[in-house]
Symmetry: C2
Subunit: 327 residues, 2 copies
């Protein structure tokens, strides 16, 4: 029997989940739920579209609802609400608010007797898992997380709010010499500036003061002031052609020492190189939906993160098969 999936929210993430479910032989997509007019949406696979309000009436038709809204405005309300009806999975990524979100979702899931998985993606998600495993295996050591090369939506939006800017794309780029130093096990102390640079591609409005725009970008507190930032002004066509994708990725390192004197060095490196940030996040969400369903079938309820789930729950094959083929 297939795992019956619902998708709540139909942006980049929702479309990614739609594809991932299509490519998972043990799953079927029941429908997409939206706060927009359902008639205004056409799904990639032709899956039916329902209004968000229709979800409550479909409790018996859907096993796991995958939430594809944003962490700022959608998930804090939607995840607990839908956790009262279904097993749910979200990619809530406001790191500082994860404990609070966990508590709310956990309460809702315990009440409904369902399973929820929050913060399922790559950071938080697979990167968190690797930070944790690195610390567990090499307790005497240091963590490093580098992001990029990739598009930061938050930083791109910040540039777009500057007067005279028509459109913009910002790439976060790890500093190669910092990566190399960590990779060698040198355990450097790195400032913000030493870890990442920022590269901006900006389309200015006609007649705009480019010098003023550049100055506004590189001095912007929190976003750019602490980084070495380069700004390129380009045409709108070039922006769409060369910078239309949403690639991302990064590296988590754990470097540490073992031995009675702590003199033996080890380096663990986990690297992601993603052509599409939302499609990869969607793939993690979909694997976690499988875990939520299985945990629920075993009678569990409450909220989980990727740190709290035995990894085999994420893979379609049985634990016996996995031991035989992959261990």
């Amino acid at each position: 029997m297939s795992i019956r999936i619902g998708i709540a929210g139909y942006g980049n993430l929702g479309r990614g989940v739609e594809s991932a479910v299509k490519n998972s032989p043990d799953m079927e997509l029941v429908g997409v739920f939206t706060r927009r007019d359902p008639k205004s949406l056409q799904t990639l696979t032709g899956a039916p579209v329902y209004s968000m309000e229709a979800a409550e009436g479909m409790r018996e038709k859907i096993d796991v609802m995958i939430l594809c809204g944003g962490s700022a405005n959608d998930l804090p309300e939607q995840t607990p609400a839908l956790a009262r009806l279904f097993h749910v999975v979200d990619s809530f990524d406001t790191h500082a608010k994860i404990p609070e979100h966990f508590e709310k979702v956990n309460g809702a899931s315990l009440e409904s007797g369902k399973v929820s998985v929050i913060s399922a993606g790559w950071d938080p998600g697979l990167f968190s898992l690797n930070r944790m495993l690195g610390q567990a295996v090499l307790p005497q050591g240091k963590d490093y997380t580098f992001w990029g090369k990739g598009v930061s939506q938050g930083h791109s939006d910040a540039i777009r709010r500057i007067p005279g800017v028509k459109d913009a794309r910002q790439y976060t780029i790890p500093v190669e010499s910092a990566l190399e130093s960590v990779r060698k096990g040198e355990m450097p102390e790195l400032s913000t500036r030493q870890k990442h640079t920022r590269e901006c591609f900006v389309v200015a409005e006609e007649g705009a003061d480019k010098k003023a725009i550049e100055e506004a970008i590189v001095t912007m507190p929190n976003y750019f002031a602490d980084y070495d930032t380069t700004v390129h002004f380009i045409g709108e066509e070039e922006l769409l052609r060369e910078h239309g994708g949403i690639p991302h990725g990064g590296v988590v390192f754990r470097t540490g020492v073992t031995g009675l004197q702590g003199t033996t060095k080890h380096v663990i490196e986990y690297r992601l190189n993603l052509e599409s940030n939302p499609e990869f996040t969607s793939s993690v969400l979909t694997a976690c939906a499988r875990a939520a369903y299985r945990l629920g079938r075993e009678g569990h309820s409450g909220c989980y993160t990727i740190l709290d789930i035995a990894p085999a729950y994420l893979h379609p094959e049985s634990p016996e098969e996995l031991r035989r083929k992959l261990l």
Copy 2:
């Protein structure tokens, strides 16, 4: 209360566990168990040494016994035997026999009501976990495992058995161009020869026929015939000075595609660079001992692998703390 650890077997792995336990604030080492004369052993930390037969009488004094014997001759008997008395952890690494070993150990642990964790190390172990997670997240894709640069004990031993060879060290080395092709997401089909080369450092006995030794090495079936192998004859002193360590490591890749048309590429890379293969394996064993103890406290019993354990069990901090700090 500390987790009370016993070590069964006192070679490189046993000494590595001894150091790892010393560096784990939530653990204490009760003693080392050996089949040799206990009086003949002096431990690094001064921990007491007992005969293997004394283990049965110490059921109340030890929570987890970490097995540090070899997969060929020790663990197939010792792990099930000790699983009747304690929670146990081993690094059984004969891949083809893992299902059989699992069944035997599982039976013993279910009988005693204890928890066992087998095949805890890096391959099998952390590499297996990454192969599995890669498949779960990117179901349309390919796995690659590369080993090295590192010392292969089996291959070194095979060279030592050749007449005229006094001592030898063999390094397994991944082919850089193959790594690069995989890293770029080209998903190449790679033969054995295209993935790894083998480099041998050999001390010949005086008057030995070096040409014959080299020929015997490079044509040796299973071990060397399918690889590009280079042989260097060096002096005994140089071997000990330059090749005395036991470094190892490697890379697990998962490269795959997402999207409805399968056109979006992603690369996941997990790399280990280890100055000491046994010390790192010991560190994984020790983290898994923590997991075994905690699972036991929750009333679980039976056999687990790293695929079957929620990762948070491996880390000394609580799930709440981990969510707050690492997610």
